[in-house]
Amino acid sequence: MATGVAWRLTAPTELQWVQWGDEWVLYHGATGDTHLLEPLAAEALQALRDAPVTTEGLVAALAGDADEEGRRQLSTYIGSLFETLSRLGVIERA
């Protein structure tokens, strides 16, 4: 996993969302793909709407009072999520 890398949305104006409970559905107009996201993934992605974010910065923002193990798991999750979203063309390195 790359550390210190900032990520941004590839095409912020091309994203549309709908939400039902814990399900988030994302439409990415730049690729025409539709994605089903879990709440944490949706929250992470929405954090990129205003400015580029690093994995470490997002972990710090989302971890709250999580212990070290919790932060480690969150970091792994966010890192993997960003890599996946990058492959899908939703985000890119800033």
């Binding site: 549309q16 969302w17 709908v18 939400q19 039902w20 409970g21 399900e23 988030w24 559905v25 439409y27 107009g29 025409g32 539709t34 089903l36 949706a42 929405q46």
Partner: protein, 310 residues
């Protein structure tokens, strides 16, 4: 004029000549063919459909012809034409009427982009529509035919047309395509509805087409509001089971069944999200058709749950 007002010989002669302008829901299909089984199929299953007298316009100009050459005598075949195109390889001549039906489906699915076109059966009760997307072999057409035989209005057995402008579902009432075991099931379940002879050894197995109750045709101009999305699955020996399913996963699954979802882009997404929001969403398993139709006849529409946005 309705098709039934023409004698079989007259219809056959017209199809061999300048063709007929058949109204099917919002479309006018100009059909020409010298093949007797095409005329017989139209005469049997489109009896209540209107023939347009305006020959200046048709949405689709289709012809079913016999290839020339040796194929005229040795293993004769049929070709489907739309305008000057022949989008499919020829089929055995005995499959001419099914080829007309499959070809008309292709015409709509590939050209009617004023709708979000979903590969799904759709029926309506009191103008509330139940959309049934499912892969081949799931029992979708059997359930659809069973509901139509028990009072539901057929909007389409194959193509759900959702208006991108207002979300209403436009009927496309055409014969129901039945396959394999479902043919005998429906002959027993709905002996009052016309059905073609069986056509064997097609790419879909044995097929037959079933006609519609008059109401489904005469109300072909009346749209319906989406109320349910149901994913049917026929499972031999199973109990009848209707289980709610999540809307987000439903949206993705219906999108996968959309013929032109990617062509419509964000308009298609918004149309589908609105449709899912308005519908109760379910997985349905069944093995007894009568029990299945009884269940849906007692089903009340659910209250829409609008999607949140971000």
């Amino acid at each position: 004029m309705k098709v039934s007002e023409l004698a079989a010989d007259d219809l056959d002669a017209r199809l061999r000549g300048r063709g007929v302008y058949l109204r099917t829901g919002p479309f006018v299909c100009h059909v020409c063919s010298p093949i007797a089984s095409v005329a017989n199929g139209i005469h049997l299953l489109y009896a209540n459909h209107a023939l347009s007298t305006d020959t200046a316009f048709a949405d689709f100009h289709v012809r079913l012809t016999r290839p020339t050459g040796l194929r005229r005598w040795l293993r004769p075949q049929v070709l489907f034409h739309m305008d000057d195109r022949t989008p499919f390889k020829p089929l055995p001549l005995g499959q001419a009427f099914p080829m007309l039906e499959w070809g008309l489906n292709w015409c709509v699915a590939n050209h009617a982009h004023q709708y979000l076109v979903v590969h799904a059966a759709v029926v309506a009760k009191d103008d509330r529509a139940m959309i049934m997307p499912a892969p081949p072999g799931s029992g979708k057409s059997t359930l659809c035919a069973g509901l139509v035989a028990r009072g539901w209005r057929l909007l389409s057995d194959e193509l759900t047309l959702i208006s991108v402008d207002d979300g209403q579902i436009t009927p496309l009432p055409r014969p129901v395509s039945l396959k394999n075991d479902s043919i005998a099931v429906m002959r027993a379940f709905a002996p009052h509805l016309a059905m073609t002879d069986e056509c064997h050894d097609t790419v879909k197995g044995t097929v037959a087409h079933m006609g519609l109750p008059r109401d489904s045709v005469t109300r072909g101009d009346t749209p319906a509001q989406p109320a349910w999305i149901v994913f049917p699955r026929y499972k031999p020996g199973s109990d009848t089971s209707l289980v709610p399913r999540k809307k987000g996963a439903t949206l993705l699954e219906v999108a996968r069944n959309g013929f032109n979802y990617s062509i419509l882009g964000a308009r298609g997404f918004n149309c589908l999200a609105d449709t899912v929001a308005r519908c109760g969403c379910y997985d349905f398993t069944y093995s007894r058709l009568a029990e299945a139709t009884d269940l849906f006849n007692a089903l009340e529409p659910t209250v829409a749950s609008p999607a949140g946005g971000a």
